[in-house]
């Protein structure tokens, strides 16, 4: 069918205002990438066109120690930045969930939990992990601060239509293998620039079988493969997740009827198609300083000398020197000092339940410091209602307030130089979690098991 359309085609065409001008249904704002945009508006005497399509929260640099209000943040620069967000939102009439709000949390966690994220929408935010929202069958991507200003002023974004890619996952994920492993393995295969220039649709039985929070993890990490946006077709799982949330349409059934027309039609064409057998995937662990430097938990730290391209070899040598790892070391023999469970990739209630189920009645290794940072205040409240906080605390973890926390270390939650951390976050770049810190990206289950053993284990045969 020549005129068959993809999910991406449909959303793009429904939001084209004019040539290369895309209408934005929801603009999410946070404290770090917005102050200069609001300044720009003031300088040119412009207003926010649609405050009713804009939503702000404080997440990136907020402390996770229970500081109840922006004015009480100990770090002066962080305090000023959150206070600037409060002033800006007040001045321009934008709803804000700041410190003290029960709805505050990581921007990519609160959008879905408030039902602000819905199928068929266009969603942008000054944050690269905005791709997360694509899990609902939305077109969502990260933008820079100049674009934040542009969207505030015009509710539109100047945007060239990206190419499209479909990755089809056949089979089902095996026991102990999660959607985090699926996306890490995909990035490992395609490379950190493998999706560059593409809007990517993840499809196939292995994706259809996943609950929403698992789908979000996949779309979230699209940017780590260089992708512009990651998307998953909305289905009954999506509709059930969205149902009853505060932001959902009043006539929900009518909305569901519209959303049913969104999925990619048979015969729709993509610029690139890739197939992956999900049943062959294993738990993954990164060994280097990009998310593409990743291998199976049963494997060994690779030997740069065996790599074909000089560029890869050099990059791997530098990464191993930074990570202080020897080629040939079994992944399961890498000793750990820190465990971080959190971030917009893996801090939702499902992630916490999975980690807690492995930790229940156990203690983390005495040499370790473990930290759990729920994705939002609502996730925190839910977890506490279920008693998960007690499970984590009894095991020896710190139980914190919500925020981006140690994923990017803009607040006091950072690694010390040389510290090695198993992290459920999304980036293992040099210094990402603190200058000199060494990050290994894993799933929440892998992080929990590693916490108990003090090293990585293959959770498929660990008890």
């Amino acid at each position: 069918m020549a005129d068959a359309k993809s999910l991406f085609d449909k959303i793009w065409e429904q939001h084209e205002v004019d040539d290369d001008l895309l209408y934005v249904d929801l603009h999410l704002v946070h404290e770090v990438t917005s102050p200069q945009a609001f300044d720009g508006l003031r300088l040119s005497g412009r207003k926010v066109r649609r405050p009713d399509k804009t939503l702000a929260t404080a997440d990136h640099n907020v402390p996770t120690d229970g500081t109840p209000a922006a004015r009480l943040i100990a770090d002066e620069l962080s305090r000023k930045q959150v206070q600037a967000l409060e002033r800006n939102c007040d001045e321009f009439g934008i709803p804000l969930y700041s410190l003290g709000s029960a709805r505050r949390g990581i921007v990519h966690v609160i959008g879905p939990e408030l039902g602000a994220t819905q199928p068929g929408m266009t969603i942008v935010c000054g944050d690269s992990h905005t791709s997360t929202h694509g899990a609902f069958g939305a077109l969502a991507f990260g933008i820079g601060t100049s674009e934040v200003e542009h969207v505030l002023a015009t509710q539109c974004l100047v945007q060239k239509r990206p190419k499209t890619m479909r990755i089809s996952y056949s089979g089902q994920l095996g026991f102990g293998v999660t959607s985090k492993d699926l996306i890490l393995a995909t990035i490992g295969r395609l490379g950190t620039a493998g999706m560059q220039g593409y809007a990517v649709e993840y499809s196939g039985p292995a994706i259809e079988g996943l609950p929403m929070e698992k789908r979000m993890t996949i779309c979230n990490m699209t940017i780590e493969g260089g992708g512009r946006a990651g998307m998953i077709a909305p289905d009954e799982t999506t509709f059930e997740y969205v149902r009853g949330k505060p932001g959902t349409p009043q006539d929900f059934d009518a909305a569901v009827e519209r959303w049913r027309h969104l999925p990619t039609e048979g015969g729709a064409s993509f610029d690139r198609e890739i197939e992956v057998d999900a049943s062959e995937l294993s738990p993954m662990v990164t060994w280097g300083t990009t998310p593409g430097m990743v291998t199976e938990v049963t494997a060994h730290v690779p030997d740069p000398a065996a790599m074909d391209s000089p560029a890869d070899r050099e990059a791997a040598e530098r990464a191993l020197a930074y990570m202080d790892l020897e080629p040939g070391t079994p992944i399961t023999e890498i000793p750990l000092e820190r465990i971080f469970i959190g971030s917009c990739t893996n801090s939702r209630i499902t992630d916490l339940r999975e980690a807690a189920s492995l930790l229940d009645g156990r203690k983390i290794a005495p040499s370790l410091r473990g930290m759990v940072v729920p994705g939002s205040q609502q996730v925190k409240a839910q977890a506490e209602e279920e008693g998960l906080d007690e499970v984590f605390r009894s095991a020896g973890f710190e139980w914190r307030e919500s925020g981006c926390s140690a994923c990017l270390g803009m607040n006091p939650d950072i690694l010390q130089p040389g510290e090695r951390c198993a992290s459920t976050s999304n980036r293992n770049f040099e210094g990402r979690q603190g200058a000199g810190g060494r990050t290994h990206l894993v799933s929440p289950r892998m992080a929990a098991a590693a916490a108990i053993e003090g090293r990585f284990v293959d959770i498929r045969n660990w008890s």
Binding site: D18, L21, Y23, D25, L26, V32, T33, Q36, D39, S44, R46, R49, P51, D52, K53, T54, L55, S78, Q81, A84, G93, P95, G115, Q118, M121, D127, S128, F141, G142, I143, G144, T145, S146, E147, E149, H150, A153, T154, Q155, C156, V158, T192, A193, Q196, I223, G226, R228, P246, G247, T248, T290, A311, A315, L408, M410, R427, F429, E430, G431, R432
Partner: protein, 187 residues
């Protein structure tokens, strides 16, 4: 934004792939609420350890997938503030590329081999109007989107340009095409 004219001068070389924006400007410097003053923190950890040294020449040649990771525009502000007007690389991350074009920092995509030749020449001349990079080892043509080129060459404000199309945005909204999603002010 100033109009982009011809840039001519010495070339600084950063021969690494996948240089992410966390390296270009580490997170502890993202708390500033201004657009200025980021240059002194450029490549903070690498410069401080002596692992990387770069002169503030007008042109930077870098490895593939430059500017990957975080969308922080601070990375572009830091590069520009340090002194670079052009970055040449075999590929850029999408968001970083776009951020460059909003700040008069010209991102130029050349092949790996061409990048090596520009780096080896030590000096180059970048002509946006002509879409060429000229150096001792050759003249290399690069592609750039017509709209981006138009904006850079004329130093135009993106928002002002879109506001000229405000009538189309009004029409779009009035036609009921902008009704998807929540009313955030009523949440």
């Amino acid at each position: 934004m100033d109009a982009f004219e011809i840039v001519e001068g010495q070339v600084a070389v950063l021969d690494r792939a996948d240089v992410d924006t966390d390296q270009i400007i580490p997170k502890q410097f993202l708390k500033r609420v201004e657009r200025t003053g980021f240059g002194e923190f450029l490549f903070y950890d690498w410069f401080r350890s002596g692992e990387v040294e770069l002169e503030p020449h007008p042109i930077l040649v870098a490895g593939r997938n430059f500017g990957s990771g975080s969308s922080r525009e601070h990375a572009v502000w830091a590069l520009k503030d340090f002194g670079f007007d052009v970055v040449i690389a075999p590929s850029f991350s999408d968001i970083f590329y776009s951020n460059c074009t909003k700040n008069g920092l010209l991102p130029v995509i050349l092949s790996e081999e061409e990048c090596r030749q520009v780096a080896g020449s030590g000096e180059a001349r970048v002509d946006l109007d002509d879409q060429t990079v000229t150096c001792a080892q050759g003249v290399f043509r690069f592609e750039v989107d017509e709209q981006i080129k138009h904006r850079l060459v004329n130093g135009l404000d993106d928002v002002a340009m879109t506001l000229q199309r405000a009538g189309k945005i009004d029409e779009f909204e009035q036609a009921g095409r902008a009704d998807a999603g929540p009313v955030t002010t009523a949440l």
